[in-house]
Symmetry: C2
Subunit: 298 residues, 2 copies
Amino acid sequence: MDERDALGQIAKTLPQAGDDAAVISLDSVSLVITTDMLHETTDFPDGTTRYTAGWRAVGASLSDIAAMGGQATAAVAVYGAPAFDPDEIDSFIAGAIDVCDAANAQYVGGDLDTTSELTIATTALGTVTHPSYRHGARIGDCICVTGNLGRTAAGLKAFETGDIAHANELFRFTPRVNTGAALAKHTTAMMDSSDGLARSVHQLASASEVGMSLHWDAIPTHPDVKEYVDDVSTRRELTTTVGEDFELVLTLPSSELANARETTSVPLHVIGEVTESDNGIIIDDESLPDEGYTHATK
Amino acid sequence: MDERDALGQIAKTLPQAGDDAAVISLDSVSLVITTDMLHETTDFPDGTTRYTAGWRAVGASLSDIAAMGGQATAAVAVYGAPAFDPDEIDSFIAGAIDVCDAANAQYVGGDLDTTSELTIATTALGTVTHPSYRHGARIGDCICVTGNLGRTAAGLKAFETGDIAHANELFRFTPRVNTGAALAKHTTAMMDSSDGLARSVHQLASASEVGMSLHWDAIPTHPDVKEYVDDVSTRRELTTTVGEDFELVLTLPSSELANARETTSVPLHVIGEVTESDNGIIIDDESLPDEGYTHATK
């Protein structure tokens, strides 16, 4: 059973587990909580600094808060490593604190564990007024993406080519927490692009029981993808399947587009429209497979 | 640098990280959050069922909420394993749900990760009215422990001797959440015994800048320790150093003892008293070393 099937099974037992984060009611507050695990073999290429690892691991959970339209409150992490080097731990914590600062959240620590490879488990907690789920997209809605896609694909290329400092920069994305919270009033459905654009639209479509039609030329590509990849079809594949760009993929009525854009300085690109479910998931009239890129870094 | 020194270093940067859980203010509510990682090599002996692993891993985080005097609200977990077997995942989730039920908390899911060995990261969230920290113990206070100690030591022996069903039962402790929340109004300091009694009293004493004097004969021992271990000095060592019994170790003025006992059906044993810091940490007039038992199960 692969990870996706297993997650599908879990969602049957635990309905709250089927979205980017779980929503919990507590007195008059709606809390949102999410957890993730990243490890060296698949998530941190050789050359990833501990500062970047702390930033990126905590950022991945903050991005899930963003995907629900939540405001981030706090994050914790477990730092698992074969040995505890004081400088590495300091760097990891500095990265965790800085990404929390970028999302107006508080990093409140966590725990250590001795593991065979660097393994980081993070949890983020937030509050939400207008939760935005994966379900809710309606026929005729615009499909939008924030910022641009391919940042992580470019980062992986930069690690491969030895451009380590730049690769680390590319790996330190800004979680779209403020943008997600601002957009949630306008969206009908939202998630983050952590599994790649292709999987994200499949998941939004499946949860909302609709079809989706995308346009290649409308998909915003990170400028560095063009630097590292000449071939256009490879570039397109990387942009739609690599994922872990932690942008927001969302739907909203076209009448809300102007209002939504006014709430955030982050560009909001219309990349397609919601269709009837019979139309399936297509891009420029071709079927878009539900595929992500498995980025084992080792 | 060992795990304890590393945790000490982290506590300097992140003051909230130096206790069993971090307290966060949110509107009119005080939240308490904590995270842990457990893995096969050190935490789950051969024969541990996935149900027990789910129960115990989530229970360990719930115990940290208890240690702060919090009420548990929700828990999440990342289930990392080399492969995803549907029955194993169902069992894991059933264990996680059942331990949450035992603590009046809600299990709201989490994530999956492919890891080389079973690795479980858990996070628990709660609310707290009277947080009880590791600092605050005062000279003359009683030192108390809930329930009894040695349950995990007995469980490890049961795994060793092939008494697997009983070993699994012993490994499924009840987190003392309701007891911790009830006692917190009366305590001056509290933590859980996850690192063993010896380390717990050292940590309470250090945070509170006091000494502690314990009495062997007053320390309540799990009946199964006697079943598995004949030698009295080994029994004593196991009872004080193995840890992971997830009982509460706390201090309170003797005038509060009767009131405290009335709030919970769990036995509250007086095992010593708080002294001046110059007296150090002693048990029956001998120094009690700050030692835990490293229980690599493989």
